[in-house]
């Protein structure tokens, strides 16, 4: 079961701000969805190895050789705020 406090906790983990009304609505909806997915526990899962992907293949590796990447100006081109060659964000450490 999921209650309001759990939704608030999970929202904080996910860095999502929610309004009071949204907390209520998501507690109700997620409660129903979680009850639904819990039917997985009916399956004979004992001793079954988890399957992380159905690809069948293993990751391939490439040479770790340097090559061209996006030019700095292009990479910064979509930034909501920038200063010179950097992304700019609000201060996160208080002034001494």
């Amino acid at each position: 079961m999921i209650d309001r406090a759990q939704v608030a906790h999970v929202a904080a983990l996910a860095k999502l701000s929610l309004t009071e009304a949204e907390l209520d609505a998501y507690a109700r909806e997620l409660g129903a969805i979680v009850r639904y997915v819990e039917r997985i526990a009916e399956m004979p899962l004992e001793g079954v190895s988890p399957l992380a992907h159905g690809g069948g293949a293993v990751d391939r590796f490439r040479e770790d050789a340097p090559k061209d990447s996006l030019p700095r100006d292009v990479a910064l081109g979509s930034a909501p705020d920038r200063a010179d060659l950097y992304f700019r964000v609000p201060r996160m450490i208080a002034e001494p």
Partner: protein
């Protein structure tokens, strides 16, 4: 016959033989979009000048002697695929104004083969949905009946092809997002084997499930497109599959001697009578052409959706953590600190379904719940994949419906997430197991006077797309539904 009824193969042949230029072909396609898309809402962005410039470049390359498999073929792209010059919104306010500085590998390969990008198509936000109603930019309408949903999440790409605006488009399929809309709109849709097509430049939803694939109006065109898209890519470590090869399964090889497995779970509870009858009829048709029908079991099918929603949302919660309002996309104004910048930007940027899935996924991965939900879902996934391995011991391909119903009405399921999730009940298992799935129209149902298409789905062993094409081609020949184009006043061929 106008371009909108022509196949991609026919357009490419004409452009290659200089009967018509790529520029001319592109101009007609753009005109068609302008003429009818106002009623459908399939496209989020077109750029006439850019498309005509790309087409002129194709004409120049042909003049220089290049042979191009998709010469001058207009292709629509789901708006979660990056293409230089176009926005890549993912149907989200978060990326409303984002213009990626690079092409997805799949897009680059289309361009290298001479295709011309026609525009970007509408989708459920971040590909999360089954009706295209979760787009921040409004719904897409089904061209067979405008008050019906086209399915989703690749609804715009399906409709672009179904309504004859483009002969080809690309979508992405995480739990059915190509196959279900293909079924709802009467077109061909392929979810390739996991690892077949590079996802570089596809905005990630659930990385162990996502695959890019084509929509087309014929099996031949879908096969032609896969040939262009497939193959390893240094930029996607999971894209390592074997080289695409149809030597053992030629397109027109027929079905003589092939064993087609019918899983009883795909024909029971909750599957609409018209859908069941149309797909059973397709099976009988193939039997008449020399195939053998065998009963198979996929006993864990009822658990595919629960397992899918745990795994997909867990991966989504991780993938969408990158949307932080710092490097690109939306930033909420005047945050007091960095934590507030993240939380407010994400609240403003993400719509209700995306938030719901981020919350569910974060919950399933959180301390105290990981073992009970995420880890259990991965074990369930192993059993679901093993079902298919067992089935393919007694058959060559599996046949079933793509969706339990024909298209539903806009608004019919949008207030109940669980009901909407059921729409993927016959497609999600294929993604969990990493298998290829191919949908094509096989019949019609009538609802409130509207004629709605029904799709048949073939599922094959990993790497066996060519076999799916071969069987589907035989069915397509028998039904005569190749090249089907929807008009709001009924179908035209």
């Amino acid at each position: 016959m106008s371009d909108r009824q022509k196949s991609a193969a026919a357009i490419a042949a004409e452009v290659r033989s200089k009967k018509r230029s790529a520029v001319e072909t592109t101009r007609e396609a753009l005109d068609r979009v302008q003429e009818i898309d106002v009623r459908l809402g399939a496209f989020l962005e077109t750029d006439r000048e850019r498309a005509l410039k790309e087409a002129a470049e194709v004409d120049r390359r042909l003049a220089a002697g290049e042979t191009l498999a998709l010469a001058g073929v207009p292709v629509a792209l789901k708006d979660n695929l990056c293409a230089v010059g176009y926005r890549c919104t993912c149907g989200s306010r978060f990326l409303e104004n984002y213009r990626p500085p690079y092409d997805a590998t799949a897009v680059a390969r289309l361009k290298a083969a001479g295709a011309v990008i026609l525009g970007k198509t509408n989708l459920d936000e971040f590909a999360m949905g089954s009706s295209t109603e979760n787009s921040a930019f409004g719904p897409v309408r089904n061209p067979w009946a405008l008050d019906y949903a086209p399915g989703g999440s690749s609804g715009g790409s399906a409709v672009a092809v179904a309504a004859g605006m483009a002969p080809l488009s690309l979508g992405s399929d995480t739990g059915g997002s190509i196959r279900q809309p293909a079924s709802f709109t009467g077109v061909v849709g392929l979810k390739p084997t996991y690892g077949r097509v590079s996802r570089f430049g596809l905005v990630a939803f659930a990385s162990s499930l996502d695959q890019i694939g084509p929509f087309a109006r014929s099996i031949e065109d879908a096969a032609l497109t896969l040939r262009v898209l497939a193959g390893p890519d240094q930029a996607d470590a999971t894209c390592s599959g074997p080289v695409y090869d149809d030597a053992s399964d030629p397109l027109d090889g027929g079905v003589q001697g092939l064993k087609i497995g019918l899983p009883k779970e795909y024909f029971q509870d909750g599957v609409d009578d018209d859908v069941r009858a149309a797909v059973e009829n397709a099976a009988e048709t193939l039997k008449g052409r020399g195939a053998t029908l065998v009963k198979v079991g996929l006993p864990h099918t009822p658990y595919a959706i629960p397992a899918y929603y745990v795994i997909a949302t867990a991966e989504a919660s991780s993938n969408l953590a990158r949307f932080d309002g710092v490097r690109y996309g939306r930033r909420a104004p005047n945050p007091s600190d960095l934590a507030e910048l993240y939380a407010n930007s994400r609240h403003e940027g993400f719509g209700p379904e995306v938030r719901r899935r981020i919350l569910l996924g974060t919950f399933c991965l959180s301390s105290g719940y990981y073992d009970a939900y995420y880890e259990k879902a991965l074990r369930a996934r192993a059993l679901i994949a093993a079902d298919f391995d067992a089935a393919f011991k007694s058959c060559d391909v599996v046949l079933g419906p793509a969706a339990p119903t024909p298209a539903f009405k806009l608004g019919e399921k949008s207030s109940d997430p669980l009901q909407m999730y059921q729409s993927d009940v016959l497609t999600g298992a294929c993604n969990l197991a990493g298998l290829p799935g191919l949908v094509l129209p096989c019949g019609f149902a009538t609802r409130d006077g509207a004629r709605l298409p029904i799709g048949a789905q073939f599922i094959g062993p990993r790497g066996f797309e060519a076999r799916l094409f071969r069987v589907a081609r035989a069915l397509e020949r028998a039904t005569g539904l190749e090249g089907l184009v929807a008009t709001t006043s009924g179908a035209k061929r």
